[in-house]
C-alpha cells in the first residue's frame, strides 16, 4: 500500500469555523491532489500541487485553499466552513505524467459541517 495518511479521519464542525485537513505521504511523489466525494458526483478535484509551494485550482476550488511547504505534506483549508462543504475528502498522490500513472488515494476524511 502507498504510504498516504489523512488526518483527521472524521470531523464535525460548525458553520463559519476554519478547518484544516492534512495529507501526509511517505512516497516522495511530486504530485498531490485533493478531491471531494459526494453522492451522484463521483470525485471532484478541488486543488492540486505539482511541487513544493506549487499549487493550482481544480474544478471545485471556491471556498478552499491549499498549501504545500514540504514534499510530504499537503494541507486543505476551509477558511469558513459551510454546510455545502459537508463531504468526504480524499487526498491522492502520483509520481509523474505518464498516461499509465496511477493515483494512489488516502483513506479519506469525513467532514460534517453543522
Amino acid at each position: 500500500d502507498a504510504g498516504i495518511t489523512q488526518s483527521p479521519r472524521h470531523k464535525v464542525t460548525e458553520t463559519g469555523t476554519p478547518v484544516t485537513l492534512r495529507c501526509h505521504q511517505t512516497e516522495n511523489h511530486r504530485y498531490m491532489y485533493w478531491y471531494r466525494q459526494d453522492p451522484g458526483h463521483g470525485l471532484r478535484l478541488i486543488h492540486y500541487s505539482y511541487g513544493v509551494k506549487d499549487t493550482d485550482k481544480g474544478e471545485v476550488s471556491d471556498g478552499y485553499s491549499v498549501s504545500r511547504s514540504k514534499t510530504e505534506d499537503f494541507l486543505l483549508t476551509l477558511e469558513s466552513a459551510t454546510s455545502s462543504q459537508t463531504s468526504v475528502y480524499f487526498c491522492a498522490i502520483s509520481e509523474g505524467l505518464s498516461s499509465y500513472n496511477e493515483q494512489f488515494f488516502g483513506p479519506g476524511t469525513r467532514l460534517t459541517v453543522l
Binding site: Y31, G42, L43, F90, S94, L97, S99, Y100, F105, G108
Partner: protein
C-alpha cells in the same frame, strides 16, 4: 457539469450473471482509468486504457476503450459476491498535472 456519464448508477444482480457498466463523454481523454472503491477506503486502480479500441482483461473483468477515446465499458462475466463495490471510471487529462475527471460511479451488489 458532469463530463463523464456513468451508467447504471446502481446495479443489483445474482451471482453468476453478466453485467456491463458504461462510461460516456463528449470529450476526448488521453486515457481512461477504472477504479474500485470499498466502503471507508479510497479508490484503487483496476486498469488504464490508453489506445482507442484497446481491450484489457483482468480475470473476469473486461475493459474496453472506445475508438474515439471518449467512452469506455467494463464487462464482468459470471459475477461473484466478491465483485460487490463501487466502480468509478475516470478520464485522464494532462493540464499541469494528471487530472482525473470521474464519472458518478456504479454501486454494484452481487447477491449470493
Amino acid at each position: 457539469t458532469q463530463l463523464l456519464e456513468q451508467s447504471p448508477q446502481f446495479l443489483s444482480i445474482q451471482e453468476g450473471e453478466n453485467l456491463t457498466v458504461y462510461c460516456n463523454s463528449s470529450s476526448v481523454f488521453s486515457s481512461l482509468q477504472w477504479y474500485r472503491q470499498e466502503p471507508g477506503e479510497g479508490p484503487v486502480l483496476l486498469v488504464t486504457v490508453v489506445t482507442g479500441g484497446e481491450v484489457k482483461k483482468l480475470k473476469r473483468l473486461t475493459f474496453q476503450f472506445g475508438d474515439a477515446r471518449k467512452d469506455s465499458s467494463l464487462h464482468i462475466t459470471a459475477a461473484q459476491p466478491g465483485d460487490t463495490g463501487l466502480y468509478l471510471c475516470a478520464g485522464v487529462r494532462f493540464e499541469g498535472a494528471q487530472k482525473l475527471v470521474f464519472g458518478q460511479g456504479t454501486r454494484l451488489t452481487i447477491n449470493p
